[in-house]
């Protein structure tokens, strides 16, 4: 009598506990417009509500809450750039309240955002943390009020994007915003114009896109959802 061969069946390995020891980060700097015109149009209230939605969207996604790190810069006052939130894990991010007064120093704001991104990447490298290409999200309802600075920063911003140092998304708020000026700082992604005051939809999109981008790389190109629910691309 022969013993039939044992039938092998797949099971999970016993007693194994899988832990995610990867320390991969996705840095995102959001530059918000805190100039006086945002108050005059009432857009500042919508912006603040949108930031709260952004916070909730990031925290609702387990992976994004751990992987994404957010910083918020406000431009306003007398050509001043203010760090409202320095880089913080999304899980600890609390949406700030943006006040509206003063001018729109877009050049200084983008310059500071680029410096913050490079410093954060340096911190990642020092600590052996891997990271994805950072995001810089810029929104304004006007035109830069720091022209000469903006001229110089725009050249550097485009060159940095061409080198793949970060991805920049620019959003024009309202009819007065100058898409042609925003186009000077973008490289891969054309600037878009916010439909009415759809900050809520815009931040839902941003949160979802950050969640998608924070996923471990599966060797695929990052495909972002189209921003059609909140923006138009003018040609």
């Amino acid at each position: 009598m022969t013993t039939p061969p044992a039938v092998l069946r797949p099971h999970a390995l016993p007693d194994v506990t899988l832990k995610d020891n990867r320390a991969e980060r996705l840095a995102c700097v959001v530059v918000v417009d805190g100039s006086l015109s945002m108050a005059k149009s009432g857009a500042i209230h919508e912006l603040n509500e949108g930031l709260k939605i952004f916070e909730a969207a990031l925290k609702d996604d387990d992976e994004a809450a751990i992987a994404v790190q957010v910083a918020i810069l406000r431009m306003g006052d007398q050509d001043r750039v203010e760090t409202l939130v320095d880089f913080v894990d999304a899980v600890d991010f609390e949406a700030p309240t943006v006040l509206a007064s003063g001018s729109t120093p877009l050049g200084k704001a983008v310059d500071q955002a680029m410096a913050m991104i490079e410093q954060q990447k340096q911190r990642y490298r020092q600590h052996g943390i891997t990271y994805k290409r950072p995001w810089l999200f810029v929104m304004t309802d006007g035109a830069p009020t720091d022209g000469p600075v903006y001229d110089e920063v725009a050249v550097r911003a485009r060159a940095a994007q061409a080198e793949g140092r970060f991805s920049l998304f620019a959003v024009a708020i309202g009819p007065e915003a100058r898409l042609d000026q925003l186009a000077r700082i973008t490289h891969r992604f054309e600037p878009v114009r916010l439909i009415e005051a759809r900050f809520r939809e815009m931040f839902v999109w941003l949160g979802a896109s950050m969640s998608s981008a924070s996923r471990p790389a599966a060797g695929q190109q990052l495909a972002l959802p189209p921003p059609t629910s909140w923006a138009v691309i003018e040609v």
Partner: protein, 282 residues
């Protein structure tokens, strides 16, 4: 040629040869499985009483023929490295570098002869040769290899991934100047109780140890205990079950491959489950 050799395109494979035990599996990521895309990872193993040659390869998702590219590369490299097992010379870093270079160049030439685009076959490479005459890892791109002695998981020697600046950009054997990115790590001669593991990028987050140091005890310790007690074929299937499980899917949506290699404490090659059969263990 030493035997047994893992079959081409196997999803799981287990073998025992002398003091060596090998269990390997690869699974498609959940998004690939849903889309009906084949697993673009591959592995190849040659095990003999004189040692083990093992390779894992991750075909780039953006490459049209990533899966075949990874399979051909892993087999070509494992077969070339297996010649070192039967040779008389030392298995040092220079010998392993020469063998991997020869295999990679032969793979590239074969693709060119077939009129195939190298870019369509982008694939990474993580290889190990473990023998009593020397051992080494060879590595191009991402993925991870680790060797731990006597269950010292935190102290494991690692061959780490080499990415571009960003974690989703890596190097491939199919890329120009690939030999500049071939990294060889010399290892101590294989010793009883050694455990080596090779993984592709998808399995790395739960294979590397906390803080990126050593190997993860929560995976390697129970896996190694299981591998010492069960038939290698069953262990390989169970590795596949874990790689395809909810916990692994939650951590990574990528294809996942893991090759476990263990050297027995018992020179006769008998392991825990068959110790009673060996008079030398009495």
């Amino acid at each position: 040629m030493p035997n047994p050799t893992s079959p081409f395109a196997a999803l799981s494979f287990g073998a025992e040869a002398g003091p060596w035990r090998v269990a390997a599996a690869r699974v498609p990521g959940p998004s690939h499985a849903r889309a009906g895309i084949e697993c673009q990872d591959a592995f190849a193993v040659v095990a003999s009483p004189r040692g083990v040659a093992a390779v894992v390869s991750d075909g780039a998702g953006s490459a049209m023929r990533a899966g075949p590219g990874a399979r051909l590369l892993s087999f070509a490299t494992a077969e070339r490295l297996a010649r070192l097992l039967d040779g008389a010379g030392p298995v040092d870093a220079a010998a392993v570098r020469a063998a991997v270079t020869e295999a990679g160049e032969a793979w590239r030439r074969a693709l060119a002869r077939a009129g195939a685009s190298l870019a369509d076959h982008h694939a990474t490479l993580v290889a190990a040769v473990l023998t009593d005459r020397g051992s080494a890892f060879a590595h191009v791109g991402d993925g991870l290899a680790g060797l731990a002695a006597a269950e010292d998981w935190p102290g494991a020697v690692l061959s780490r991934p080499e990415n571009g600046e960003f974690s989703n950009e890596t190097w491939f054997v199919s890329a120009p100047h690939w030999q500049d990115h071939l990294r060889v790590t010399a290892l101590p001669d294989a010793a009883p109780g050694d455990v080596a593991v090779l993984v592709t990028d998808g399995a790395m987050p739960f294979t590397v140890g906390p803080g990126g140091a050593g190997l993860e005890p929560g995976l390697l310790a129970p896996l190694s205990r299981h591998a010492a007690a069960e038939a290698p074929g069953q262990v390989a299937l169970d590795i596949a079950g874990t790689l395809d499980g909810t916990a692994a899917r939650r951590i990574s949506g990528d294809d996942k491959t893991l090759v476990w290699i263990g050297r027995s404490h018992h020179e006769c090659g008998h392991h825990e489950r068959s110790r009673h059969e060996c008079s030398r263990h009495e």
